[in-house]
């Protein structure tokens, strides 16, 4: 039994969209491909590169060995898509120039800005805290505030 099967067979906590049977990479793609592509495009706006990253995400062995228990595949896909997109973005450009733009243009450490720096620009919470001259716990709290501001679907 592989990790995907184990993840799906888990009879403990019931997640939102936990599937009833084991899923293949293609089934996960059919379900979350558009969401992953949207995430990748937010980080890497070039469609050709974004499509290459998308293929890497869904053909990656990490998808099979995703041990994001007790979360759903959606969470696993979000993490993986972001990680691969940030990796591709780092290869393309130096993060330093992007950070300078953001810190110079911003006057307020809003949850949107913090989310953008961490999720889209690829900075760690420690780096974001340092750039915005706030503590790491404030950065993490901003993530919570950011998602709290969106209504339930």
């Amino acid at each position: 039994m592989n990790e995907l099967e184990r993840l799906n067979d888990n009879s403990g906590h019931q997640s939102v969209s936990k599937p009833s049977g084991p899923l293949t990479s293609l089934e996960v793609y059919d379900k979350y491909g558009a969401m992953a592509y949207g995430i990748i495009l937010q980080i890497v706006p070039q469609p050709n590169l974004a499509q290459e990253v998308l293929v890497n995400v869904f053909s990656s062995p990490l998808l099979q060995s995703c041990n994001s228990y007790p979360f759903t595949f959606a969470v696993c896909v979000i993490k993986l898509a972001r990680a691969k997109a940030v990796e591709a973005k780092r290869k393309l450009m130096t993060i330093g120039t992007v950070s300078a733009e953001h810190t110079n243009n911003s006057h307020e450490s809003t949850p949107e800005l913090i989310f953008d720096l961490a999720f889209r620009q690829g900075f760690s919470p420690e780096e974001v805290a340092e750039k915005l001259h706030i503590s790491k716990s404030e950065v993490l709290k901003a993530f919570h505030e950011f998602f709290k501001s969106f209504p339930h679907s």
Binding site: Q42, F58, L80, S137, A142, F147, K148
Partner: protein, 158 residues
């Protein structure tokens, strides 16, 4: 830290975004297993976070799916190759021998022996054609010769 404080700390969000440290990841996993209130919150949280990312979803081009299909099929074959015979379950063993792939090109592949067979058939057909023509013209010239001799004999008899 109680459950409410932990939820408001944003550690869960950083975990989901792949930004949490190992210690924070361990803490989240522990909370899920031990706190029922936290597990209940997760259901709403996952709904919320899925909703946010689905709002920004963009349908990828269909070619991407085909590429993923090809790459995952290739990986499966490589994986099967790495196993010993006894590692592979009986029901999946036969499945791995065939790839369910749609090919769009117009070429077909045949066995290599078809090439000399085709050349032999082509050469033989040419030989038979030449031989047929040769004997046809030979027979017609002989017929002319016979007719000529017949007319000569008839003219001598008269």
């Amino acid at each position: 830290m109680n459950t409410k404080e932990f939820i408001e700390s944003g550690i869960l969000e950083s975990y989901v975004l792949g930004l949490a440290t190992e210690e924070e990841q361990h803490e989240v996993n522990q909370r899920v297993l031990t706190s029922s209130g936290f597990a209940d919150y997760l259901v709403d949280f996952e709904k919320n976070i899925n909703g946010y990312f689905l709002q920004n979803a963009v349908p990828p081009p269909p070619a991407v799916r085909e590429l993923i299909q090809l790459r995952t099929a290739k990986t499966d074959i490589q994986k099967a190759g790495a196993h010993t015979y006894y590692d592979i379950p009986v029901d999946t063993e036969k499945k791995d021998d065939f790839l369910d792939i749609e090919v769009n090109d117009t070429y077909i592949k045949v066995h290599k022996w078809w090439r000399p067979a085709f050349i032999a058939v082509f050469v033989l057909s040419k030989i038979f054609l030449i031989a047929g023509l040769y004997y046809y013209f030979k027979a017609s010239s002989q017929q002319e010769e016979i007719d000529k001799l017949k007319t000569e004999i008839l003219s001598r008899q008269q």
